[in-house]
C-alpha cells in the first residue's frame, strides 16, 4: 500500500517513466487490435525489432558522417527518424509481399526478424561512437524518460488514439472486407497506408520508450485477452486499451516494489492475464458442456 501511495504522489521521482509506461500500455493494444484482426501478429515481433535496427542504423550513419549529436533532443530525433523509417518501410514491403503471396507469411516475417535482430547488433558494433546511451535507447530504457520526451509521446500517442477512433468505420471496413470497401468506392490502399502509418508511429515510439519486447507484448497480449471477452468492435478496442493500461500500471508497481526489470515484468503480467482469462473460459466451456449433457 505504501508503494502505491509513493508511486501516486505528485513528486514521485519516476513519474515520467510511470506515465510513459501506462501510455505505451494503452495505445499499443489499440493498434494491436488490428494486428489480431488482420492476423498479422507475427508482424508484431518483426516490426519492433526492425524499428530498433532503424535506431541503430541512424546512429551509425550519423557517426560515419561524423555528425555530432549534441544533446538528448538531437539524439531522440535521430532515433525517431531511423525507427520510423525502418518500421514504415518494413511494414509496407511486408504488406505488399503478402498481397503477392509467393512465399508463406511466416517465412517472410521470420527472415525479417532474424535480419533485423542481427542488423541491430552489427550496426551497434560498427558504430565507432557506440555509446551506452544508444544501447539504452535501443533497449528502450523507460526509466530515463524525460519530461520533454514524455510530452512528445503524449502528443503522438494521443494523435494515434484519436485517429484510430475517428476513422474506425473506414479502418474496420477495409480490414473486414477489402473487396466490399473497393466496391463502395473507398480508397482501400489509402486507408491501409493510414493504418500502417499509425502502426509504424506507435511501434517506433513504443520501441524508443519501452523497447521491442514490451512493445510487442502490449501489441498482442491485451488484444488477445480482450478478444476472448468482447462481442463488439468498440468494446474490443476499449477493453484491450484498459487491460494494457492497467497491466502497465500494475507492472510498474510490482517492478518498483520488488526491484524487478520493468519490461519483462509488464510482459509476464500481460501474458498471465491472458492465460487466466483463456483458462477460465475453457473451464466454463467444459462445465457448460457437462451441464448440457446432464440435462
Amino acid at each position: 500500500m505504501s508503494t502505491l501511495v509513493e508511486i501516486l504522489a505528485p513528486d514521485f521521482l519516476l513519474r515520467n517513466a510511470l506515465v510513459g509506461s501506462v501510455l505505451v500500455g494503452v495505445v499499443c493494444p489499440l493498434v494491436g487490435v488490428y494486428f489480431v484482426l488482420r492476423r498479422m501478429i507475427f508482424l508484431g515481433v518483426a516490426l519492433p525489432q526492425l524499428s530498433a535496427a532503424g535506431v541503430a542504423f541512424a546512429f551509425l550513419m550519423s557517426s560515419l558522417a561524423q555528425v555530432h549529436r549534441h544533446g538528448e533532443t538531437a539524439e531522440r530525433v535521430l532515433a525517431m527518424c531511423g525507427s520510423l523509417g525502418f518500421a514504415f518501410v518494413g511494414l509496407v514491403v511486408l504488406a505488399a509481399l503478402e498481397r503477392q503471396g509467393r512465399e508463406t507469411v511466416e517465412a517472410r516475417i521470420g527472415v525479417t526478424y532474424a535480419l533485423a535482430a542481427a542488423a541491430s547488433i552489427l550496426f551497434v558494433a560498427a558504430d565507432p561512437y557506440g555509446e551506452a546511451e544508444m544501447t539504452h535507447l535501443l533497449k528502450g530504457d523507460i526509466v530515463t524518460t524525460t519530461t520533454a520526451s514524455l510530452d512528445v509521446l503524449m502528443a503522438v500517442f494521443g494523435t494515434v488514439a484519436v485517429a484510430l477512433f475517428a476513422f474506425r468505420k473506414e479502418l474496420l471496413l477495409v480490414s473486414f472486407d477489402r473487396d466490399m470497401a473497393v466496391v463502395l468506392g473507398k480508397r482501400a490502399a489509402l486507408w491501409d497506408t493510414l493504418l500502417y502509418l499509425l502502426i509504424g508511429v506507435t511501434i517506433s515510439f513504443g520501441v524508443m520508450t519501452a523497447g521491442p519486447l514490451v512493445t510487442f507484448g502490449f501489441l498482442v497480449a491485451p488484444p488477445l485477452t480482450a478478444r476472448l471477452v468482447t462481442r463488439h468492435m468498440l468494446t474490443f478496442s476499449i477493453v484491450a486499451a484498459l487491460l494494457g493500461g492497467v497491466t502497465a500500471f500494475v507492472g510498474f508497481t510490482v517492478s518498483y516494489r520488488w526491484d524487478l526489470p520493468l519490461g519483462p515484468t509488464d510482459v509476464a503480467l500481460a501474458v498471465a492475464v491472458l492465460l487466466v482469462v483463456a483458462g477460465w473460459q475453457g473451464l466454463a466451456r467444459v462445465v457448460g458442456a457437462r451441464r448440457h449433457r446432464g440435462s
Binding site: V36, L37, R39, A166, F167, K169, E170, L172, L173, S175, F176, D177, D179, M180, V182, V183, L184, G185, K186, R227, T230, R231, H232, M233, T235, F236
Partner: protein, 238 residues
Amino acid sequence: MNAVVRLEDVSFGYGAQPVLRHVSFTVERGEFAALLGPNGAGKTTLFRGMLGLIPRLAGRIEYGFDRRVTPPGYVPQKESLDPIFPLTAYEVVLMGATARIPPLWPVGRRPRRLAADCLARVGLAEAAEQPFWSLSGGQKQRVLIARALAVEPELLLLDEPTAGVDPGAEAAVIEVIKRLNREQGLTVIIVSHSLPLVREVVGSVIWIERGSAVKGPTAEMLSAERLANAFGIATGVE
C-alpha cells in the same frame, strides 16, 4: 437507358494477361441473370471485373446508375470473411448502411434504421444482436445480402450465395433473392454452380466458356448439347 449494366467488347485479366476477351452483353433493369460455365472458365474474373475489383484491359462498361452515388450491392461468399472480427449481425449490415457517410461524420439514426430494416427484409430481425460468426451458413449469407441491400443498390451481385449451405437454408436464401427481384424490381446477377437452381429462378444466363461470354434466355443457354459439352452430362441436371 433501361440497361443496368452494358459491357462492350470488354477484356478482363490479371496483369496484362487477358482471361476473358471481347465480352459484350447487356443486363436490363429488373433482370435476374446467372453467370454460368465450367470451372476455370472465368466466372469469377467476369464477376470481379464487373464490380471493378480487377482492372478492365479493354472495352467499355456502362452502368445505368451513378456508381459513386449508388454502388452495386455486393454479396461475397461467406467463407471469404474472417470469423475473428467481433461483430454482430447488425454491425455487419451497418457497414453497408454507413457506406456513403464520409469519414469523420457521425453515424446518425437513418443508417441505423436502414440496417435494422434490411435485416428484417431478409427475415433476421431477431438475430440482430447475435455474433455474426455464430450464425448458420444460410443466416450468414442472408446477413450479407442485408448488408448489400443497405447500400440501397440498383444492381445486386452475388457470388455463389448457396455454396456450402444445407437445402433448407438454400431455399431460404433463394426465396429472399427471388422476392427482392420480383417484388422490388431489383436487378440481380448471381454466380452459381447449381443448374436446377438456375433453371428454376433465373431468367437469363451469361454463359462463359473458352475465354468469352454470351448471354441469352435460360432455356436456350442451358441446351442439352451445351451442357453435355461443358460438363459431360446429357440431362442438364447436376
